[in-house]
């Protein structure tokens, strides 16, 4: 039934051991490449400025260990504010992308109505065309709406940015929910809203987690729209806030690296929460 879609059945133990070694080798190289910059950021965040430049790849030793970056970031800047802004923007956008995305996906797959295909194509185009191409018009629009320099502007733009992919992925999953389930519910006099919230949503939880991860990371890391739409003092997000340590002539590397290190933590926590859902989705139907 539904669960089969989340079980990678082909990933069985039947592969030869040579193949297995190669597969793991490739994956390990990839992991190494992906983690290396993060590793460099973290070790250097705990070193003195001199040590950073002298040997960027060395681990901090008692001689070179320093927390000056963190002190700078936490005591002498509005780090908590940036952090809170980023959190609010990311979580709000994420919530609406998931909710609206799932609703759109349900409507597009479940109901036949005029314009169904047209709307689906619009969303597909949203995946293909980067939202940044529309920056000028977006800025115009936001300025007309008096939303420049507000977090609302960011949330709106991120919802628009995340929706197309969310609709696309969730449609695929919703299509795989057996139609008898919905029909059984209709025989039980369950309203369409209730069918969506109590039957469809719980069954696509793994897909929601996947979409959440895909949506969250670009939003958290984005520099472009905060810089354009909300560069004002009180509304800077963390990626924008970090920029204040980067100057044209002098860059406070300790602070930059410390701020980046701290910025990794919340995404990591959110990722762990969602990936637990992913794994639960993978195993929940394994017995059948």
């Amino acid at each position: 039934m539904l669960n089969q879609m989340t079980i990678p059945q082909k990933l069985s133990i039947k592969h030869g051991s040579g193949k297995k070694v190669m597969m793991h080798g490739v994956l390990m190289i990839y992991t190494f490449i992906a983690l290396f910059p993060i590793f460099v950021i973290i070790i250097n965040a705990f070193k003195t400025r001199k040590a950073i430049f002298k040997d960027p790849l060395a681990l901090p030793t008692p001689d070179t260990f320093s927390m000056v970056g963190f002190e700078q970031v936490l005591l002498r800047s509005e780090f908590e504010l940036f952090f809170a802004n980023s959190m609010v923007v990311t979580l709000l956008s994420l919530f609406f992308v998931l909710l609206l995305g799932a609703m759109v996906a349900f409507a597009l797959t479940e109901y036949k109505f005029r314009g169904n295909l047209f709307i689906a194509i619009l969303f597909a185009m949203g995946i293909m065309i980067p939202i940044r191409l529309g920056t000028v018009s977006i800025l115009n629009l936001m300025s007309n709406l008096n939303l420049v320099n507000t977090l609302t502007a960011l949330v709106l733009v991120y919802i628009a940015q995340g929706l197309p992919l969310a609709v696309y992925i969730l449609s695929e999953f919703i299509r795989q929910i057996p139609k008898e389930l919905k029909e059984a519910a209709r025989c039980d006099n369950v309203s369409e809203y209730k069918i969506f919230f109590t039957i469809v949503l719980p069954l696509i939880r793994p897909a929601l987690a996947t979409v959440a991860v895909f949506t969250m990371i670009p939003i958290w890391n984005d520099l472009w729209f905060p810089l354009i739409l909300a560069p004002g003092e009180g509304n800077q997000t963390i990626t924008l806030g970090v920029q204040q340590f980067i100057g044209q002539y002098v860059t406070d590397w300790n602070s930059v690296l410390a701020a980046l290190t701290l910025a990794i933590v919340p995404v990591l926590v959110l990722y762990l929460i969602f990936s637990r859902q992913l794994i639960r989705g993978l195993t929940s139907g394994a017995v059948k």
Partner: protein
């Protein structure tokens, strides 16, 4: 009283008409089985009755109320799906109680109803489990339980046994039959399995290409099939068909010359047949036997023997190429390649015109359903 009436029900998908005016009258408490090959429209008809699909034209009434435009929940029906359609993330109890909860019943009411249904179906010990922790048979019961708690006027079953293994299928079949007696509810049941249809139904509706081919009690269909299609569909193994021509017409029987030259008798009405018309003669495998004890004798070569223990199915080819099956006794010693003689009585022969219409048999046996017999006996005793 939950009578179900279908008047000239039609269904099209775009330009394609899949149901061509179905007329059906189902009495309260009747167990009606819709049977037919896949694609004949039986499941579509059930879904129309359930309200899961729109009726293109015609009138459907349940309990004397036209329900064409009512949503499924307002029709007083409950449906059991082939795939069970249990909510995978809810426990058995929640699965069964969900509809009641939506209907706003009190917690005590819900518990009482669910527990009663669970007791009837012997699933009371499973109420806290999730569907994936149940076996196929248990899931099936939960699906039936979910239908029972809603107290519907009409139960709709869509091939409920086809996902079960053979042994469980027979057992569940018996249980559904008992359940029907216990609840006394109207049941409409779709299956492609003619054995299920024969054993369960008070009334069987044989469908073919979107039309009702024949509707009647199981024995009526077996003894007096109206068309060649029904004759071939009811009974297992299939009825044997042989081509021939009418050579003589008598008030009590016809003489038919088979294509191999044999002349055989059949005790049927001649209706509008004339001498020389081509017809098909049909004899069920169980009405044929080895040897020459009965009046009509055929000869041919054995191509296969299936031994079932209580009987053996002998497949043979007649000299004109026609293939027939004979249900011989279990002790039959016939082997493949042998030339044997088989025989049948003209009483048991069916005759079909070229258009597939059956001639009325004159000396066929009892055609009353067990329900009718029980009623007659009760009347006789009273």
């Amino acid at each position: 009283m939950a009578d179900v009436q279908l008047k000239n029900i039609k269904k099209n998908y775009g330009d394609v008409e899949v149901l061509h005016g179905i007329e059906l009258d189902i009495k309260h408490g009747e167990f009606v089985v819709l049977v037919g090959a896949s694609g004949c429209g039986k499941s579509t008809l059930l879904r129309l009755i359930a309200g899961l699909e729109d009726i293109s034209s015609g009138e459907l009434s349940i309990a004397d109320r036209v329900v064409n435009n009512l949503p499924p929940a307002k029709r007083g029906i409950a449906m059991v799906f082939q795939s069970y359609a249990l909510y995978p993330h809810m426990s058995v109890f929640k699965n069964m109680s969900y509809g009641l909860k939506i209907a706003g019943k009190s917690k005590a009411d819900i518990r009482e109803k669910v527990e009663e249904a669970a007791r009837i179906l012997h699933i009371d010990h499973l109420l806290d489990r999730l569907p994936r922790e149940l076996s196929g048979g248990q899931r099936q019961r939960v699906a039936i339980g979910r239908a029972i708690v809603r107290d519907p006027n009409v139960f709709l079953f869509d091939e409920p046994l086809s996902n079960l293994d053979a042994a469980l299928r027979v057992k569940t079949r018996v249980e559904i039959s008992k359940l029907h007696q216990e609840l006394g509810a109207t049941i409409i049941y779709v299956t492609h399995d003619q054995v299920e249809a024969m054993t369960l139904g008070d009334k069987i509706v044989v469908m073919n290409e979107g039309r009702v081919e024949q509707c009647g009690s199981p024995l009526e269909l077996y003894q007096h099939p109206k068309t060649q299609f029904v004759a071939g569909f009811i009974g297992s193994p299939k009825m044997n068909f042989m081509d021939g021509r009418v050579s003589a017409i008598n008030s009590e029987y016809l003489d038919i010359k088979l294509s191999n030259g044999t002349i055989t008798q059949a005790h049927v009405e001649s209706a509008d047949l004339a001498i020389g018309d081509s017809v098909t003669i049909g004899i069920r495998p169980e009405h044929m036997q080895e040897g020459t004890d009965a009046e009509m004798v055929l000869e041919g070569q054995v191509t296969l023997v299936e031994q079932l223990g209580e009987a053996s199915f002998v497949y043979m080819q007649l000299d004109d190429g026609a293939e027939i099956i004979v249900r011989a006794s279990g002790e039959s010693t016939t082997t493949i390649g042998e030339r044997i003689k088989v025989c049948f009585s003209p009483v048991s022969a069916h005759v079909f015109s070229q258009s597939g219409q059956a001639m009325r048999r004159l000396k066929a046996g009892n055609v009353k359903s067990h329900a009718e017999l029980a009623r007659l006996k009760a009347v006789g005793a009273g």
